[in-house]
Amino acid sequence: MNDKIFKDFPQIKSDYIYFDTAATSLKPQSVIDAVNMYNQELSANIHRGMYDNSVRTTSLYEEAREIVAKFINAGVDEVVFTRGTTSSLNLVAFSYGLNHLDENSEIIISEQEHHSQFLPWQEVAKKTSAKLKFIELDKSGKITVEAFKKVLNKNTKVVAINYVSNVLGYINPIKEITRLAHEIGAIVVLDAAQAIQHITIDVLDLDVDFLAFSGHKMLGPTGVGILYGKELYLENLEPFEFGGDMNEDVEKTLSTWKSYPQKFEAGTMPIAGVLGLAEAVKYLENLGLKNIENYTKKLYDYFFKELSKIKGIKIYNPNSDTGIITFNLDNVPAHDAISYYAEKNIALRSGQHCAKLIHDYLGIHSSLRVSVYFYNRIEEVNKFLEVTKEAIDYFQKIGF
């Protein structure tokens, strides 16, 4: 990556190291400008006003849909704007799950799941008496096709899993899992929140039925996300939220809805966020996901190799695919260790990262997580390694 790229991100400062992209990415100036432009110049609603600013806003909003659709190779009407991955997955769980599952149904899920995928389906299972079936993870925490086959059967109705785990960073074999799920007529609901910023996603090639991701993990603003759904499903799916703009005709006794995707976009949407997200996609496309992947991989490989050499550390996800290293300092609870890094102005994550089940699987209460991306540099990694050695010495000295 050349120096120009670092200048695109006003959050990057020489005395601050940001290794928490898996929580939320930094935002380039072009995204910030788009959000500001909407608020300063337009500040109009969509699909409603007949005046210039409203017409212009509507057209930018719908253009953004086209940009996102092209980015994942979807049809433009298959792209629903939501408030984030969590909203997207709740929509599928409650609109599809509640109406299609019963006590004979099984939902395949895994201990890798972020709570945004796990909890909606746990709720649906509770309400419909459907069963949750967990894919047995292998000893490194990975989902294998073999393990998936063991829980797949004729009662499986939904496979709700992640593309990339937010704790382990492994890419799951989604294409093969989807093929097998479809053979028995189950749908696949994919959480792509940790994949979309790292690897090219082609929904036609993957063939998943629903796919969810957030804007803010892929250089976009917070408060906006995407639900992709195959036309066939979106057409028959009931709305999850009801209100303004999503209806076609409202009567005292019975009302009707617009077609998809509009029927899923009730109320005033995060318009500034949508316009910002379009710029984020353009930024990623300009840079090229392949270039991002190559750069991140190289930086990660160096990071992992050097961190592994330090005595007094346990890494839980060797050879991660997407720049995530999850680890602990020996005998130091993650929340104690994080305070040392915070003092040095290094941002990383500590805790359970909204994924408690994988921590139970690993047999730990909490962990530290660094995640690197294309705007991180080798100098930052070196500084981190140095601080980590200091931290180990410090905590040993005071008695941990």
Binding site: H335, D336, I338, S339, G351, K356, H365, S366
Partner: protein, 142 residues
């Protein structure tokens, strides 16, 4: 000297390594409250026995960071033998102290005063507070 030395005082480390009044009792006379912090994995349970307006006993079990574990231990030690009203005032005062709010400095927090440094680390206020919130809740169950 690291800024963190204000947080990791010797007494805190000592309690972290040797927590007092550790282990719960299966005794119906005790009121029990468990609080888990889902974001960090802290898991703290406090049991109190109150008789004739006096906190007769406090038991605790805590997993988590050094601050949360030590805080539960220190709490259990200073609360045993305190009249109910005083115990509540102390807990309130402690919670105000660690969250950098106004607190009554004339009240003697005893060993719990070592948590005074927590207020410089806003991210750690919760760690220090959990046991004390749970303790207050056990008294509310009276």
């Amino acid at each position: 000297m690291s800024n963190l030395d204000n947080l990791y005082r010797e007494i805190i480390m000592e309690h972290y390594k040797n927590p007092r009044n550790k282990g719960l009792l299966a005794d119906d006379r005790y009121k029990t409250i468990r609080i888990k912090n889902p974001s960090c994995g802290d898991d703290i349970t406090i049991q109190t026995l109150v008789e004739e307006g006096i906190v007769k006993d406090v038991r605790q079990i805590a997993t988590g960071c050094s601050i949360s574990v030590a805080s539960a231990s220190v709490l259990s030690e200073i609360m045993i033998g305190k009249p109910l009203k005083e115990a509540l005032d102390l807990a309130e005062n402690f919670l105000n102290m660690v969250s950098n709010k106004a607190f009554d400095e004339s009240l003697d927090l005893e060993e719990a005063e070592v948590f005074n440094g927590v207020k410089q680390f806003p991210a750690r206020i919760k760690c220090a507070s959990i046991a004390w919130v749970a303790f207050k809740d056990t008294l509310k169950k009276e």
